[in-house]
């Protein structure tokens, strides 16, 4: 596979880029949903994300990328127990993937050739501690969606089939992208994404020209382009690492908690997941920017991504729910 287009070379789309970086700072935020027109760089950004993520330490032969041998599941037959550094996994979940491939199943190859009953881990195992990317997530079949919802919530994949009884950790950041023209997403799945961003084609000609120029430079003059933007990617990566260290120390004043609650009440979002995500994402943002205390400015910047998909849909609001959130944020935070 060719080196993906570098993340830092993506023109504009700041909201999408910010959301992706924040999930890298705090994987607990719970994923990003990117909805938008065709040809706006959704897939490009996700594929670029892999190069941006810091490496993780894993047991070399562990099928679920566990950090220590103690954390490896008992069914895994470990070969090498050396701990090695690996890039954070970004696993593509193709549409039309069968349940077997997603959760794992009996290892048919071994069953046939050696007559052994063994478990062949699926995509969920490989995505543990990393990212699971679903392109065209709105077209995903319902039974796969149900399965993902269950695993994403529990952080554990349980397989009870074909005489196998297997469980393994499956904690991953769900990244979905899609085009709303082709179908809506079920509210249950929508709610499960921490952040959602809408991307639009840039309307400014200069910006569009810049996009094409960079794409062209990437294809025509690959080495020079990578040298320039690879360094910028490394810078972002360093900031992410620093932000992860700073994150536990970010102070959260009580009045900010009040603001969170007031915002969610004003927006009428269902459940409390909105507040939790808003708070968590705002803290990640503060850490990423190097701020020690959470302020209203952070809330303001992150509220559209964290809340816009949790509203009741208003068919009359053509501006999109992002604009609605921004309006209410202005009202509540003054």
């Amino acid at each position: 596979m060719k080196t993906p287009f570098p993340f830092s070379a993506i023109v504009g789309q700041t909201e999408m880029k910010q959301a992706m970086i924040l999930t890298a700072v705090d994987p607990g935020i719970g994923g990003v949903l990117v909805f938008g027109d065709r040809g706006t760089g959704k897939s490009t950004a996700v594929r670029a994300l892999a190069a941006l993520l810091p490496e993780i330490t894993v047991v070399e032969s562990c099928p679920v990328n566990a950090a220590t041998t103690a954390e490896c599941p008992d069914w895994a037959e470990l070969g090498s127990k050396k701990r090695v550094k690996r890039p954070t996994p970004v696993i593509d979940l193709p549409l039309g993937a069968t349940e077997d491939r997603v959760v794992g199943a009996l290892d048919i190859e071994r069953a046939l050739t050696r007559g052994e009953k063994a478990f062949e881990p699926g995509l969920l195992a490989r995505a543990n501690r990393g990212y699971l990317y679903i392109d065209e997530v709105n077209l995903l079949e319902d039974h796969i969606v149900d399965l993902l919802l269950d695993v994403a919530q529990s952080g554990e994949n349980v397989v009870e089939r074909e005489g196998l009884s297997i469980r393994h950790p499956a904690r991953f950041v769900l990244v979905g992208s899609g085009n709303p023209e082709e179908g809506e997403l079920r509210p249950q799945l929508l709610d499960r994404f921490g952040l959602s961003v809408e991307v639009k084609s840039p309307t400014d000609v200069a910006e569009r020209v810049e996009v094409i120029k960079r794409r062209d430079a990437f294809e025509a003059d690959f080495d020079a382009f990578m040298a320039r933007h690879g360094a910028e990617d490394a810078k972002v990566r360093d900031t992410i690492l620093k932000a992860r260290k700073r994150l536990p120390k970010v102070k959260t004043p009580d009045d900010i908690l009040n603001d969170c609650a007031a915002l969610c009440i004003a927006l009428g979002s269902d459940g409390l997941r909105g507040e939790l995500t808003l708070l968590r994402t705002a803290r990640a943002l503060a850490a990423y920017r190097g701020d020690k205390t959470l302020t209203r400015a952070h809330l303001r910047d992150i509220a559209p991504s964290a809340l816009s998909h949790r509203l009741r849909r208003d068919p009359l609001d053509e501006a999109g729910s992002g604009a609605r959130v921004a309006r209410i944020v202005d009202e509540v935070l003054g």
């Binding site: 596979m1 060719k2 993906p4 027109d37 065709r38 040809g39 706006t40 760089g41 897939s43 594929r47 593509d92 193709p94 549409l95 039309g96 993937a97 069968t98 349940e99 077997d100 048919i108 190859e109 046939l112 050739t113 392109d135 065209e136 077209l139 085009n179 023209e181 082709e182 084609s201 840039p202 000609v205 569009r208 020209v209 996009v211 094409i212 120029k213 794409r215 062209d216 294809e219 025509a220 068919p315 009359l316 053509e318």
Partner: protein, 560 residues
């Protein structure tokens, strides 16, 4: 016809550009019926050694994996090779039947950067029948030559530049070239940034093919003509001295503006390019109808939607196939297919091996179950019960509902009735097939008051969405005289009422709900006509309609 020659010339050029190595153009859509002419066209991509795939190709074949049957036979692991294991060109036959999931998978392969190409053969008969946009958007060219191929096509032999052949990467592109292509895309309302990117690659490939080290005007011209026309969503408004104000029909294309024009160095930036692309825009875009690329996936057909599946519904004859974990095996048909072969297969067992017990079944014997479901149709009547004409209109609508229900058992129709009057819309008759219930419910209906058209549409959209979740195929029929004067929030404001109604119509379109607008006023209304256009629904003017004519019009519009 000169326009025929140019469309064939453009096709030849596009195909030749596809064959430029490392051009990374993604491929092309070829919209032609299967014919000797298409075979002739396809000979042009023979250097790419395309391999055929079909819309129902299974994941195993596409991405490789364990070949179960071969593994069992050989008693050792046999893997299917992935179709995309090395750079390849796939010839996707009948791409108009390609589903969104296959399109997404192929798009993923195109995005992988391995330089795969897809040539999609589109045999769609209707304008609506086309490959999914997720796929076609990634393919640079759209080739649809009109008429018959001129004798000796392709006429001009590909240019052979002197010296070592250039690759597209050797060609330099100036910043202003990129600006030209990008702003040109913007002029035609092409939002996706893939289009200018592909056009740029096409320009590079064109320059490389002609042995030029830098892109010049003719390269840009060719690229724009090949990539932009079918993606355009609007016709640029021009303030200049064109004699015709409405955009010229395609026949007006200046003959010398063709792709092979080499004397076009004096082209002023932009304007000539705009004209060149404009001359090639598809006719329906010029007619100011539906924007290109926004075709809806289905329209209200005569009966409910048909769905083929492998779970439920009316059984269809079983078909040979492979067990892929989703389909169910038809055991009887499989045994029946295997039965005649048993003596031959038993005889074919090599001497010396112990005789095998039972039936010998080969993968080719496997038959899979198929079912077809037909979902019922729901006709939602949204009736204007406002003003003076309310009573007669409502009565006619009631009559129509009853007439339609009378035929309902044959057509599997359900009917619902929404009346809007005063400040709000009311669901008078929930979806039903019962004639008795209908008569009772519709016995006395109130009328009068304002016209909250938007509220009526909203209620209809809501009901349509609910009923679709229950497996019905909804169609909304709107009966009104069209003077919307109550906004959605209940205020009497003609302006907001109209814009609310338009918005709700847009919502119906977005939800892909088929519709029909019947104008019952004495003088047909422009506002209603535009509302119908917004809904992408037929508009019928029926002043003083009675129940019979109403039923006839509805039935005709739905069958048509």
């Amino acid at each position: 016809m000169t326009s025929d020659t140019t469309s064939w010339d453009r096709a030849a050029l596009a195909l030749r550009l596809l064959c430029v190595p490392d051009a990374d153009l993604g491929g092309a859509v070829i919209r032609m019926r299967a014919s000797p002419a298409r075979d002739h066209v396809l000979t042009q991509v023979a250097p790419l050694q395309p391999r055929k795939i079909h819309p129902t190709i299974s994941d195993d074949q596409l991405f490789g994996g364990l070949d179960l049957a071969a593994t069992l036979n050989a008693a050792q692991v046999v893997e299917n090779k992935s179709f995309f294991h090395s750079r390849c060109t796939a010839l996707l036959t009948m791409s108009e039947r390609c589903g969104p999931d296959l399109a997404a998978k192929l798009a993923q392969q195109l995005d992988s950067g391995a330089g795969h190409m897809i040539v999609a053969l589109d045999e769609g008969a209707e304008p609506d029948e086309a490959a999914p946009p997720a796929l076609t958007e990634r393919l640079a060219f759209h080739i649809a030559p009109e008429g018959r191929a001129p004798a000796g096509w392709p006429s001009d032999t590909p240019p052979v530049p002197a010296g070592t052949p250039l690759t597209p990467a050797d060609v330099t592109v100036s910043g202003s070239d990129i600006e030209t292509l990008t702003s040109l895309a913007a002029v035609f309302g092409i939002d996706s940034l893939r289009a200018p990117s592909l056009a740029l690659r096409a320009a590079r490939a064109h320059a490389a093919m002609h042995g030029r080290k830098a892109v010049d005007e003719s390269d840009l011209n060719a690229a724009a003509e090949l990539v932009y026309p079918q993606r355009a969503t609007r016709v640029p408004q021009e303030p200049e001295d064109q004699s015709q104000d409405p955009p010229p029909p395609p026949e007006d294309a200046p003959d010398d503006d063709g792709a092979g024009d080499s004397e076009s160095f004096e082209l002023p930036d932009g304007d000539m390019l705009v004209d060149a692309v404009k001359a090639l825009l598809p006719a329906d875009l010029l007619a100011g109808l539906v924007p290109a690329g926004t075709t809806r996936s289905q329209t209200g057909g005569g009966a409910g939607m048909k769905r083929k599946g492998n779970r439920r519904g009316r059984p269809l004859p079983s078909r040979p196939g492979r067990l892929d974990g989703r389909a169910r095996i038809d055991l009887v048909a499989t045994l029946r297919a295997a039965a005649p072969w048993q003596p031959l297969r038993n005889a074919a067992v090599p001497a010396g091996t112990p005789p095998r017990q039972g039936l010998q079944i080969r993968p080719a014997d496997i038959r899979l179950k198929r079912y077809q479901e037909q979902s019922d149709r729901l006709l939602i009547f949204a009736v204007d019960a406002s003003g003076s004409a309310a009573m007669s209109r409502l009565n006619e609508a009631k009559g129509a509902v009853e007439l339609l229900l009378g035929q309902a058992y044959a057509a599997r129709d359900h009917v619902a009735l929404i009346a809007f009057r005063g400040a709000e819309a009311e669901l008078l008759l929930p979806p039903t097939r019962s004639l008795v219930q209908t008569k009772r419910r519709l016995a006395s209906l109130p009328g009068g008051g304002g016209t909250p058209l938007a509220a009526g549409l909203q209620q209809a959209a809501l009901l349509a969405e609910q009923s679709r979740a229950r497996g019905l195929s909804p169609t909304v029929v709107i009966l009104t005289d069209g003077r919307a004067n109550i906004a959605l929030d209940g205020t009497a404001n003609r302006q907001t009422a109209q814009s609310d109604a338009e918005k709700m119509a847009g919502l119906l379109t977005a939800q892909n709900i088929a519709g029909l607008v019947i104008d019952m006023s004495n003088r047909p209304q422009d506002a209603l006509r535009s509302l119908a256009a917004r809904m992408q629904a037929p508009y019928i003017a029926l002043p003083r309609a009675d129940a019979e004519r109403l039923t006839g019009a509805v039935s005709a519009a739905l069958e048509g």
